[in-house]
Amino acid sequence: MKAKSPFRSTSPENIQPTGRALLQPAMLTVRDLEKNFVADKGSVRAVDSVTFHIPPGEFYTLLGPSGCGKTTTLQCIAGLEVPDGGEITIHNKLVFSRNTNAVLPAHRRDIAMVFQSYAIWPHMTVFENVAFPLLYGRRRVSRSAVKDRVMKALQLVQLAGLENRPAPFLSGGQQQRVALARAIVDEPKVLLLDEPLSNLDAKLREEMRFELRELVLRLHITTLYVTHDQVEALSMSDRIAVMNNGKIVQEGTPRELYLTPKDRFVADFLGKSNFLEAKVLEISAGAKRGRVQTIAGALDCMITRAVKPGDSVLLGFRPAALRLIDDGCTADSNTFRAEIDSASFAGDFLECQLRVKNQHFRALLDPYQECKSGDVITLHIPAERLAIVATL
């Protein structure tokens, strides 16, 4: 047998057949990444022990407000910034390690990147822009093959016929497609996208969202996407990591993140949420669920962090999480009564401002049920829709 590889978890020879599903090889691994910037008032930690693994073919998104460190993380992976700590592995190849104090220069990393400004070179034609990686990049091809490859890439992004156009004569949407064609032309293993849709107008953005997702799926390219737009993140990604202040605060599928945010920041940043103060009463076996005391009574909820009975916590739930209980049907557990302050019929849903004692909530209810302000109603919230988002 061969000598031990340092990449135990990712090297093919170390993966047992039975463990294949469990130990999926990662195409991109980031471990304990750290990056500090020197600012006027001392040093600022832009990226703080960020860790994630992306299996081959996955569409993974870093979502967060501007300044949360998502672009810096991307640039560290691309090699445009040198991190201060951690480890980065791309396609089984260690490209940065603080421990061995070594970096692989950016131009030798097996990635492709689409920049926020598109970075289309204005002194070249569309063809010359797309041909650049094939002529001067990592995987150079013979001159004769360049034309075929460029044309194929342009076809994929639906720009066939524009190859001779000088770059300054392109619209924003076309520039975006050229940037994409340039990124995929040399068939990279990993594609890094830095807010690629943020400079497009709303209608085009929606179209490109779908098209981009289709394209990387078809080419089976592992994609790391950076955005501050929650709609983009939710509709395109396989998994999302929400970042704030240089840290990943929650990672999960779009469904998990949106429906059961486990952190106050995620709940706030991704859509609207209601918050409710509570005291932990008991924690069930397995520590997944528990019972808490709120002003709306005792409720069952998800336990998302280490708490013990008696702790004060903050609960969060989505406006759409509540279900109106008719007088006719019997309510199971987890119900409470609330008064409707105002109700407005919005077609797809009934938007209500509810009041429980002096606490206000926003609720999106079934539009088929008639409610008006002043009514006192009974609401049910399933325990898996109510989660601790912070300890107080």
């Binding site: 061969k2 590889s5 990449f7 990712t10 090297s11 093919p12 020879e13 020197v38 691309a78 090699g79 445009l80 040198v82 396609h91 089984n92 190849k93 260690l94 490209v95 390690s97 061995t100 104090n101 070594a102 970096v103 692989l104 220069p105 950016a106 131009h107 030798r108 990635i111 492709a112 990147m113 920049f115 926020q116 400004s117 970075a119 070179w121 204005p122 002194h123 650049f132 990686p133 001067y136 990049g137 990592r138 995987r139 000088p166 300054p168 004569f169 940037a179 340039r182 040399d186 890094l192």
Partner: protein
């Protein structure tokens, strides 16, 4: 047993080595810039406390006598007063003429606006020496053409004008300043949103009131910053004060420093010259600080709204005829000295235009130049000087600017500061300091000492231009090439250089033209072996060979135009194609 492919061996480059590579280049640049810029300044300080008759590296003794001699002399306040009058007067007069012309060209419907613009750009290539010599031919009290004509025409006893006076120095310098001011002001006038003027009109103000209370206050910061910039240039102006001011008995600081370091008789008084040089340096630094304050205000007042607007031109109506006559007068004033030079260059000796003189016209002055080995040597030296200065300066500026703009950290910032410092150092002071620093080296007396001095002086302009251009080029354009797998060198060669090329070419051209025009450095550092065109001109003129000097000047102007115009057109076209 089935062979399983090995995982990729990590191909790693040691990080420390990667960083030091760039740091070595940066450190070398910092060292070079320090030697180039700070070295001369240190020597200047040292020389200002140098005992009389000594050279800076020969002795360690110090004395305060130079300062007491320089600033205790009752004539010194007059020297500063002359400098202030000359600089202030020419800038004010130039600014009035330039504002008027710029307003007519940019904001009114005066005919021939484009022609005026083209003429303004073309006249920037004419060296100040041409104006000085030309006006001497037209207005000297003995046989200046205009003086003689007016005397005969009006039956005067005395010549009406004397070119050797402070007022004429101011007038000539002002005409020479107008084209540069025009270029600086035209953006300011063009970008002013006419809606601001309209808003004034809507409020019921008439045009004069709008001009007084809205347009002028809005323009003031911009005008002020142009004024301060020009004052910075004019306190160190050398050529026109040298030609006219000495005879006029109105010495200014720059000429006085030159005379102390290169006296016609006796030994150079380097210590005294350095003491005066420090005075001029302090004056220039104060002006620069005021200039920075003024530009900061100008930024705050920016009337460039960024959104597209159609500039509505003021309709002159009947006023267009006086406006056209005014512009025509300016151009006659600009061209008159050149015509005088052209006329003189065709004659065997200086004569007033007449039928007899016309019969003696020939190109013998021009053909004589091809026979003179001295002049051929000067032409050869000039070529060597201007091409090496322009090319070396731009090479150095390119690398320095890249580190200053794209780099982070104190070293990069220090580099930027050092490159900018020569902006505040008056040219005559720099010339003196470089002379003192290199006088004992084999460099002294060769053409390369002038190259070195000019590179130091023009480094500020070169780095400012490249900095500005680099800041407009999004760093993602370079990063994109790196992300595509291109090496740093390839991304520089294939992406950055083509994008910067038009800016490079323009700056290169500007330096080339100014390097050829420059007399301050060439004259202060002159030796028999490194004489160039501008210093030859001065030598010919001071020995009274007026026709040859005129011919050489005409040759220089034409030569400059021939080099500058086609390259400038090409650069403009390239810049346009980049969008």
């Amino acid at each position: 047993m089935e062979t399983i492919p090995l995982a990729h061996k990590p191909a790693l480059t040691v990080r420390t080595a990667l960083l030091t590579q760039k740091q070595i280049v940066l450190s070398l640049l910092v060292l070079l810039a320090t030697v180039l810029v700070i070295g001369p300044l240190m020597i200047l300080l040292r020389s200002s406390v140098l005992p009389a008759g000594e050279l800076p590296f020969d002795t360690l003794s110090m004395t305060a006598k130079n300062f007491s001699a320089a600033y205790g002399d009752p004539a010194t306040p007059k020297l500063f007063f002359n400098t202030a009058c000359y600089a202030g007067g020419s800038v004010m007069l130039g600014l009035i003429v330039a504002s008027l012309l710029t307003w007519l060209v940019e904001r009114t419907d005066m005919p021939f606006r484009t022609a005026i613009k083209v003429l303004m750009f073309a006249s920037m290539t004419i060296p100040p020496l041409a104006y000085a010599f030309g006006w001497v031919l037209l207005l000297n009290p003995n046989n200046g053409a205009i003086n003689v004509w007016l005397k005969n025409l009006l039956g005067l006893d005395q010549p009406p004008f004397d070119v050797y006076s402070l007022s004429m120095m101011i007038f000539i310098s002002a005409t020479e300043l107008v084209p540069t001011m025009f270029v600086m002001l035209s953006g300011l006038f063009r970008n002013m949103d006419p809606q601001l003027e309209k808003a004034g009109a809507v409020c019921g103000a008439n045009y004069l009131k709008t001009a007084r209370y809205i347009v002028l206050p809005l323009l003031t910061p911009g005008l002020l910053s142009v004024m301060m910039y020009m004052l910075m240039i004019m306190v160190q102006a050398f050529e026109i004060p040298l030609v006219l001011g000495l005879t006029a008995g109105v010495p200014v600081l720059s000429v006085y420093i030159y005379l102390l370091s290169s006296p016609e008789g006796g030994t150079p008084k380097y210590g005294l010259a350095a003491a005066f040089g420090i005075g001029l340096l302090v004056l220039a630094i104060i002006l620069m600080l005021v200039y920075f304050a003024a530009t900061r205000t100008a930024e705050r007042f920016r009337v460039v709204t960024g959104k597209a607007f159609r500039p509505k031109r003021f309709e002159l109506g009947r006023g267009r005829y006086p406006a056209m006559i005014l512009s025509a007068i300016y151009f006659v004033v600009m061209i008159a000295p050149l015509l005088a030079l052209l006329w003189t260059s065709l004659l065997p000796f200086y004569q007033l235009p007449s039928a007899t003189a016309l019969s003696k016209i020939s190109v013998s002055n021009y053909s004589a130049m091809t026979n003179s080995t001295k002049i051929q040597q000067a032409i050869l030296n000039t070529f060597l000087l201007v091409f090496s200065t322009a090319t070396l300066t731009m090479l150095l500026s390119g690398i320095m600017s890249w580190f200053a703009v794209r780099g982070r950290g104190t070293l990069a910032r220090f580099l930027d500061l050092v490159a900018f410092a020569p902006m505040a150092i008056p040219r005559i002071v720099m010339a003196l300091a470089i002379l003192l620093l290199y006088i004992r080296t084999p460099l002294y007396g060769t053409i390369w000492i002038i190259v070195l001095a000019q590179v130091t002086v023009y480094l500020a302009f070169g780095t400012r231009t490249v900095n500005g251009a680099l800041m407009q080029i999004h760093p993602e354009l370079e990063n994109a090439a790196t992300a595509c797998g291109a090496t740093w060198l390839t991304s520089m060669r294939k992406i950055l250089l083509p994008l910067l090329w038009p800016h490079f070419l323009n700056a290169w051209l500007w330096i080339l033209a100014h390097s050829m025009r420059d007399l301050t450095l060439a004259l202060t550092l002159m030796s028999p072996d490194n004489i160039v065109l501008s210093s030859t001109l001065w030598v010919l003129w001071s020995f009274g060979d007026i026709p040859k000097a005129s011919a050489l000047l005409m040759l220089m102007v034409v030569g400059l135009l021939v080099i500058v115009l086609p390259i400038q057109l090409y650069a403009a076209k390239r810049a346009e194609s980049l969008g």
